[in-house]
């Protein structure tokens, strides 16, 4: 054989190996995601159930707990709270477009972005960026009387980030536990009762409390800004994000206004201080274990910090959408 056929044969062999390797990698990223987790995501918008779930979470050294009575049909949900709960009487009805939260004590309905997508956001990111995560599946315990598969999601350093207890037949997420950077439980929910064949009335997701005052996130922001004696600044709608909630707080006796924004792919938090504040982006990134970053800027006496799970350059670009006012008029 002359050298030329050798060369051609080598090229062909190399291309075959490369193609096989690429398919192998693609196959691995799909195979790495547990079947139960894939089923959960596939069926997320088609679930039908009613049940009671116990929610626990931690803010710093304080923890909270409450029960939610949930009725779910596809993308629609209705949540109430049992008698005796501090939240008793409140009703949350979520549809594909919005989440409406009724506060009977104030006779107010707060119109909020849907929460369903936020709840699924992280789970979808596990699948989309499967190479960044390690999955382990074991037989789970009975949750609300149903058999489960427990899926643990860890980062590449083997820190468990979440544990999911999934009904392998329906793909229903019956228990979810989130962990902080040192492995302590940060938040969780667990169904204590579940009915997979409930009678759901047509009017279950109808929501029209007569006489109740409608409060949008923008109105709530204006309220909070007035209370804090802050000028109102917010992200405009062209940013692609919707204001979800706002509140003001004190940090070392320095008041600050906090706004949370959401869209289909993530969350943003905007901090507004009424004076010069030093915020080291590197420290923020390290404290967040690289999960999110921050961008700080000033405008007059105001210091702003925007935090999100995207590149710093994206945060810088989004910061240009922070304008005076509630941002609602820019659409």
């Amino acid at each position: 054989m002359t050298p030329r056929p050798y060369f051609v044969l080598s090229l062909v062999a190399l291309s075959v190996v490369c193609t096989a390797q690429r398919q192998h990698h693609r196959g691995n990223s799909e195979e790495g995601v547990p079947k139960a987790l894939r089923r959960l995501l596939e069926n997320a918008d088609h679930q039908r159930y009613s049940g009671v779930r116990s929610v626990e979470f931690r803010f710093g050294d304080k923890s909270g707990k409450h029960d939610e009575i949930v009725i779910r049909l596809g993308k629609n949900s209705r949540v109430e709270f049992p008698a005796g709960s501090k939240l008793a009487g409140q009703i949350i009805v979520e549809t594909e477009e919005s989440r409406r939260h009724f506060f009977p004590d104030k006779n107010e309905v707060h119109i909020l972005p849907p929460r369903r997508e936020a709840a699924m956001e992280h789970l979808q990111s596990f699948v989309h960026d499967a190479a960044k995560w390690k999955f382990a599946t074991v037989k789970g315990e009975l949750i609300a009387g149903r058999r489960t598969v427990q899926v643990s999601v860890s980062d590449l350093q083997d820190n468990v980030v979440q544990r999911l207890w999934i009904d392998p037949w329906t793909g229903l997420l019956l228990k979810r536990q989130l962990f902080d950077g040192v492995g302590a439980s940060a938040a969780s929910f667990e169904f204590t009762e579940i009915n997979l064949n409930p009678q759901i009335d047509d009017r279950t997701f109808f929501f029209d409390p007569r006489g109740a005052k409608i409060i949008t996130p923008a109105i709530q922001l204006e309220r909070n800004a007035k209370l804090a004696k802050f000028d109102v600044w917010s992200l405009d709608l062209n940013s692609g994000y919707r204001l979800e909630s706002s509140r003001f707080a004190n940090n070392d006796s320095k008041p600050l206004l906090i706004q949370h924004f959401v869209n289909k792919i993530g969350r943003l938090t905007l901090f507004q201080f009424d004076s010069a504040v030093s915020v080291d982006g590197d420290i923020v990134r390290k404290m967040a274990r690289g999960d999110f970053q921050s961008h700080k800027w000033t405008n007059g006496k105001w210091t702003f910090v925007l935090v999100g799970s995207m590149d710093k350059s994206v945060l810088e670009r989004l910061s240009r959408h922070v304008i005076p006012g509630t941002g609602e008029a820019s659409d």
Partner: protein, 144 residues
């Protein structure tokens, strides 16, 4: 010792013993001084001087640049540290970064497990005063 007057020296110098000593000294061979040792010494000095020059050149080529480099580095370090002073994160600064991280993380966590958000939880118990993010009151946790 007895001191003699100069007028008494001449007779003494002409004495037999003195004449004998003078003859003996005159009879001594007149040696020519040899410069060979001096030449050898010069050669030794040249060799030693060459070694010293070589060593000096070695020092000039290695130690001096190293010394210069070290000095330059020291100056550079001094300049850099004077321009950007070592960052001492004060308690307040750390708390701001801690606040930023905790607030974003907690809102994200809560959104994954509940339909209720934090501001809604707070608004169930409205307070006339701003509440601390870091130090939640008992009222806050009770409302959960």
């Amino acid at each position: 010792m007895k001191q003699s007057h100069p007028e008494n020296i001449e007779p003494e110098l002409n004495s037999t013993s003195q004449q004998f000593v003078a003859r003996v000294v005159s009879a001594l061979p007149d040696d020519q001084p040899s410069m060979a040792w001096r030449s050898g010494l010069n050669e030794q000095l040249l060799i030693v001087a060459a070694k010293r020059r070589k060593r000096s050149r070695l020092i000039a080529w290695t130690l001096r640049p190293a010394l210069g480099l070290g000095l330059a580095s020291a100056v550079m370090v001094a300049m850099v540290t004077s321009r950007t002073p070592s960052r001492i994160v004060s308690k307040h600064e750390a708390s701001v970064e801690g606040l930023v991280v905790a607030e974003h993380q907690q809102s994200s966590d809560l959104a994954q497990v509940s339909w209720v958000d934090r501001s809604s939880l707070e608004s169930t118990e409205p307070s006339p005063k701003p509440r601390s993010t870091v130090n939640w009151s008992e009222l806050d946790t009770e409302s959960l």
